[in-house]
Subunit: 126 residues, 2 copies
């Protein structure tokens, strides 16, 4: 399993440090996949906060802010503040973020191809 990990060392309890699980934890939060996709489409260009919000119907200011902050914190997204008043903040994927786009796109394609089958199965089961 290659459970070499930096934070959650096996031993204390069990292994919360499986990289895949940790990655999916991050990607699994509600707005991440959408933000990453929008930024990936714009890459290597940037997208402003307001533009992201406009293109993500239903997202609150708080959650968009939190999502972007987390992604920045993880080094997947870069923030650039234009020192005007009112300020404009631009976001883009870092190289690390871009490198994630590939496997993520594969997952997206799978989802778009097969979610119908999942829905069908789920519907049959009730």
């Amino acid at each position: 399993m290659t459970t070499r990990t930096s934070t959650g060392q096996r031993g204390d309890l069990f292994a919360p440090g499986c990289p895949t699980r940790r990655l999916l934890d991050r990607l699994g939060t509600k707005w991440v996949s959408m933000v990453v996709k929008l930024l990936a489409e714009a890459a290597p260009g940037e997208v402003r906060f307001a533009e992201l919000q406009r293109r993500m119907p239903g997202v609150s200011q708080k959650m968009l802010s939190v999502t972007l902050r987390n992604l920045s914190h993880d080094g997947l997204v870069a923030r650039r503040v234009e020192p005007t008043v009112p300020p404009r903040v631009h976001y883009r994927l870092t190289d690390l973020g871009l490198s994630l786009e590939n496997p993520l796109a594969a997952l997206r394609e799978w989802a778009e191809e097969h979610m119908v089958e999942i829905d069908t199965a789920a519907h049959r089961a009730g």
Copy 2:
């Protein structure tokens, strides 16, 4: 974005039906990636409930049960009950589940290669 969806139709509020988001919702729950990986490694063979639990340190009976039930419900996992007493229940990935293994493995590889960089970035940021 190909927002054609069966359940969450755009119109009422916004679009909660993005396939990728829905897929990540499912994969993002705590034990899914681990179960899928174990079943994928055993494919096309089966794995018993107790064996899964033994190989997933920390999982509770409840959560393993819930996880497997959800995956069955979605048509990713098949359940086979051996009519003995006490009963033995065997799980395996369906064809649909197996087809997910590919993109998921790509994501796993990315995670194992790059989680260190994420940790580094997160650590630098505090």
